[in-house]
């Protein structure tokens, strides 16, 4: 159990909280944009964003720290893309807790209605 824990911790070492990374409107917009339009350059991502390229870069790096996006180099430009597995994992964790509540509510219902 402790071995799998260290593996898990190592895997996400240095990661910012995934949900906190999404708790910023600019970052949320970046994620939404990447999920609709696919891999994009900083130039494209800065268009109409109302913030500087430097700010966009900083936000993308925060998202990358949380494992939500990654980049590849095309020439001298970084192309950013979504890491959907990570988002899916966060979502599934909530779904699981939600399932646990459904089960508990089922038991409570049986308990008080008997």
């Amino acid at each position: 159990m402790s071995r799998s824990r260290s593996a898990s911790v190592a895997k996400v070492a240095g990661a910012a909280p995934i949900f906190a990374a999404l708790g910023d409107p600019t970052r949320l917009r970046l994620v939404a944009r990447l999920s609709v339009d696919g891999p994009l350059s900083i130039t494209r991502l800065s268009e109409g964003a109302g913030v500087t390229r430097q700010a966009i870069t900083k936000h993308l790096e925060a998202l990358a720290d949380a494992g939500l996006v990654q980049h590849n180099w095309r020439g001298r430009e970084r192309i950013w893309e979504l890491e959907p597995r990570r988002l899916e994992m966060a979502r599934r964790w909530l779904d699981r807790i939600s399932d646990q509540w459904d089960a508990a509510i089922g038991r409570l219902k049986a308990f008080v209605e008997e």
């Binding site: 906190a20 494992g67 089960a103 308990f111």
Partner: protein, 152 residues
């Protein structure tokens, strides 16, 4: 998909009076009977109540609740560490989520609303771990319970 990451909300109609539902939620022995945990101590605002999980297969785990609010027959709220499934880990320094039980009268029974919030502050590492350790188990158990409660 990414808008409701901070909270889980449930609402259920229970065919039992509000006083009955309140007792099932706000007394440790009754809470433990359906939640499947053997709790020691009493629920009081500010109190920390601990207990051993009685859910088959999870009996090696303990859970801890910090009681936040008690408004008789209206609101019961506590904080805890969701997915705290590793007995070797000290979770005390980690953020907790808030669980609220809201009770209201409904025709011939009670409307219970459960809200768990504060997930945004849980570290990513914990989510991954909790996810992996519970993978598969809960789905199967949920189905077992569904079968159990829907039997005539």
């Amino acid at each position: 998909m990414i808008t409701s990451t901070d909270r889980i909300e449930k609402e259920v109609y229970l065919r039992a009076p509000r006083s009955r539902v309140w007792r099932a939620i706000a007394t440790p022995a009754e809470f433990g009977a359906w939640f499947r945990v053997k709790l020691g101590g009493a629920f009081a605002e500010g109190a920390t109540v601990r207990g051993r999980i009685t859910y088959p297969g999870y009996e090696h785990l303990t859970m801890e609740m910090v009681v936040e609010r008690i408004e008789p027959e209206r609101l019961f709220a506590y904080r805890w560490h969701p997915g705290a499934t590793d007995p070797d880990v000290d979770y005390s320094s980690e953020p907790m989520t808030l669980v609220e039980f809201h009770l209201d009268d409904a025709d011939g029974g009670t409307i219970l609303r459960i809200v768990e919030s504060g997930f945004d502050r849980i570290p990513a590492a914990r989510r991954d771990e909790a996810f992996r350790m519970n993978d598969g188990g809960w789905t199967e158990q949920t189905q077992n319970i569904e079968r159990h409660v829907t039997q005539p």
